[in-house]
């Protein structure tokens, strides 16, 4: 059988991709969960909660995407390390 060394390498890179999806999931789900943030209080610098919370979500999703990007670098390196 030929899948002696590629198989474990592939599994580890797949695991990283699962991690990436899990990290990115909140950035997709929370903005769509409208009842969570459809309220006026607490306000911040005069902004009702509805507005400033969504601005905060932009920052959160950017940070999560950076983390996902760093993990994807490792995943790509592992994939290349499969001896191709």
């Amino acid at each position: 059988m030929s899948h002696d060394s590629p198989a474990p390498a592939r599994r580890s890179s797949t695991g990283l991709w699962v991690a990436i999806i899990v990290i990115l999931l909140p950035a997709v789900i929370i903005p769509l969960w409208v009842p969570l943030y459809d309220k006026s209080d607490p306000t911040l610098w005069g902004f009702p909660f509805f507005y400033w919370f969504q601005f905060a979500l932009i920052l959160m999703s950017a940070v999560l995407t950076v983390v996902a990007y760093l993990i994807s670098l490792v995943a790509d390196r592992r994939r290349r390390g499969e001896g191709r």
């Binding site: 990436i20 999806i21 990115l24 999931l25 950035a27 997709v28 903005p31 769509l32 969960w33 409208v34 009842p35 459809d38 309220k39 006026s40 306000t43 610098w45 005069g46 902004f47 009702p48 509805f50 507005y51 969504q54 601005f55 979500l57 932009i58 920052l59 999703s61 950017a62 999560l64 995407t65 950076v66 996902a68 990007y69 994807s72 670098l73 790509d76 994939r79 191709r84």
Partner: protein
């Protein structure tokens, strides 16, 4: 508009024109192939791609229309913010796969990929036609954006229609000329100017105007008071109250489905794909997924200009009043005249970048998936580039005629439909990046059913001002909950595709030949067979 504002506006416009023509010499190459003319040589790095894709997605029309909805008291328009939040994590995952397979096989358009993946010219044609149909009204709306600015700025004589629209003609003739000569390099270079201007104008606007008007707290409360007064007036007139600062609980699903549906559709638009395929490698796309939210922040602030305009007591002209004039009118009333000129220029130039990329993307679709697929299977790269250049002109002239000859609300209706239509290519494109399980004919039927349903559903929406195409929301089937039409059509599309795939597979209907291999989807620059610059004369489906 004062002489100073006109001077600033014209000066900035001239700078951009010079840049547009000079772009032909930037990263110099022979522009006689689609890879060079239509994709800028597929070599843009993170920095350029950020400006290009940002300039491409956040259009002048967005900058006019999103604050307009808030100005009109319809807070659901703020869905543009969650929409652009949700889009990037999603594209982070699937777009690098599209980049890889396109680079390996020389695909220029999303329809090229679908054609190669499913071995079906017909399915490729369906995707291409959807793309062209969805993009054309979008280009027309960029013109509407420029028109709004010119109207408030008082440009153009008030005499006959020709003099009135002369500035618009000039702007578009110039745009058409440099797109023709420089291809994607022109909007890439102009995007720098556009985005820098937009960022400056918005940052100044959201700091200076609240300071002048008594702070954000005051802006929100006076906008809220103004909406309450309007609501009392509607109730007194026997109509339901519609305005507010917060979405009512009945519209939560509408808000979320608009955000998700638009996010999934965003990178199905051919011009977004063009931007993505012009990048140098997979890392550029992923880094941009993390960097592009800066534009979402900008868009959110910009949307709030709608409330600022209410608080500043901006009155718009037109009968019924046209809320799309709110932002330009706000600039006119509140900014010193030279800075109002910068603001107008930012919006007008902001229309040119996406209009150029959209016309290039539509032209590439026509060339690859109609002209070459059906009429000239052995067209040379040179011939392809020539056809694309000419079609890009035709598309722009078409958009111009569209806006001038037909009503602007017709363009807006079609753009609404465009969003519904383009999402229906998602199963073929994105699911196709992961699995070949869907049957090509099942995808085609699913697409067709969803297109018909979506168009019919949108036709049936009434609003106070329009009998048809009055909005993007209908009741979700068998419920009383408002939902985005594109989302319902998409679910129907998936359902039909899955059921028919099972049926066609059981009946052993020919599934077609797949030109791609598993490794194609993860290939990156530096891998075997992935060259820095593609050889344009190499057969595309080698």
């Amino acid at each position: 508009m004062s002489g100073i504002a006109v001077t600033v506006f014209v000066f900035l416009f001239l700078v951009v024109t010079v840049l547009g023509f000079a772009a032909a010499r930037w990263r110099r190459a022979d522009l006689d192939s689609l890879d060079e003319w239509g994709l800028g040589g597929r070599g843009f790095g993170t920095f350029i791609a950020w400006f290009l894709i940002g300039g491409d997605l956040y259009t002048a029309y967005t900058f006019i229309a999103v604050p307009a909805t808030l100005y009109a008291g319809s807070v659901v328009g703020f869905f543009a913010v969650p929409y652009t939040i949700v889009a990037y994590p999603i594209i982070f995952v699937f777009l690098p796969r599209l980049w890889s397979v396109s680079h390996r096989h020389g695909y220029v358009t999303p329809a090229d990929f679908v054609e190669g993946r499913y071995g079906s010219r017909t399915l490729g044609l369906a995707v291409a036609l959807t793309g062209i149909l969805a993009t054309a009204p979008y280009i027309a709306l960029q013109l509407v954006g420029i028109q709004s600015v010119l109207q408030v700025a008082g440009f153009g004589g008030s005499g006959n229609w020709f003099l009135k629209d002369l500035p618009l003609f000039l702007a578009f003739a110039v745009l058409a000329a440099y797109t023709y000569s420089s291809g994607l390099r022109a909007p890439a270079l102009i995007a720098f100017v556009k985005d820098v201007l937009i960022y400056i104008v918005i940052i100044v606007a959201v700091i200076y105007l609240p300071h002048k008007l008594g702070g954000w707290g005051h802006i929100f409360s006076s906008a809220g008071d103004s909406f309450d007064t309007a609501n009392k007036a509607s109730v007194a007139a026997g109509q339901p109250p519609t305005k507010g600062l917060m979405p009512p609980p009945t519209l939560h699903w509408a808000y979320a489905s608009l955000a998700l549906g638009s996010a999934l559709a965003l990178f199905m638009y051919p011009h977004s794909v063009t931007g993505v395929l012009s990048t140098r490698n997979r890392g550029v796309i992923r880094r941009n997924a993390a960097l592009l939210p800066a534009y979402s922040f900008l868009l959110g602030l910009l949307a709030l200009l709608g409330f600022i305009a209410v608080a500043a007591g901006v009155k718009v002209s037109g009968n019924p009043p046209n809320p799309q004039l709110a932002v330009p009118q706000l600039f006119e009333n509140e900014f010193p005249s030279w800075f109002a000129g910068v603001g107008y220029a930012a919006i007008a130039i902001g229309a040119l970048v996406p209009a150029a990329i959209m016309s290039i993307a539509a032209a590439n679709l026509f060339t690859r998936n109609i002209y070459r697929a059906y009429f000239r299977p052995d067209a040379t790269p040179r011939e392809e580039a020539q056809v694309s250049k000419i079609v890009s002109l035709v598309v722009k002239v078409g958009a111009l005629v569209f806006v001038l000859a037909l009503s602007r609300s017709f363009a807006i209706n079609l753009q609404l439909l465009g969003g519904v239509w383009i999402l229906q290519t998602f199963p073929a494109i994105v699911v196709g990046l992961y699995t070949r399980w869907f049957h090509r004919w099942a995808l085609l039927v699913g697409w067709a059913v969803a297109m018909v349903y979506g168009t019919w559903a949108a036709y049936g929406v009434e609003s106070p001002t329009q009998k048809h195409f009055g909005g993007p929301l209908v009741n979700f089937p068998f419920t009383e909950t408002k939902f985005y039409i594109a989302g319902i059509a998409f679910l129907i599309n998936l359902l039909v595709t899955i059921v028919l795939t099972i049926a066609f597979r059981a009946a052993k209907v020919d599934p077609g030949v797949d030109q791609t291999r598993g490794v194609d989807y993860t290939a990156d620059l530096g891998d075997e067979e992935v060259e820095v610059e593609l050889d344009p004369s190499r057969p595309a489906h080698a």
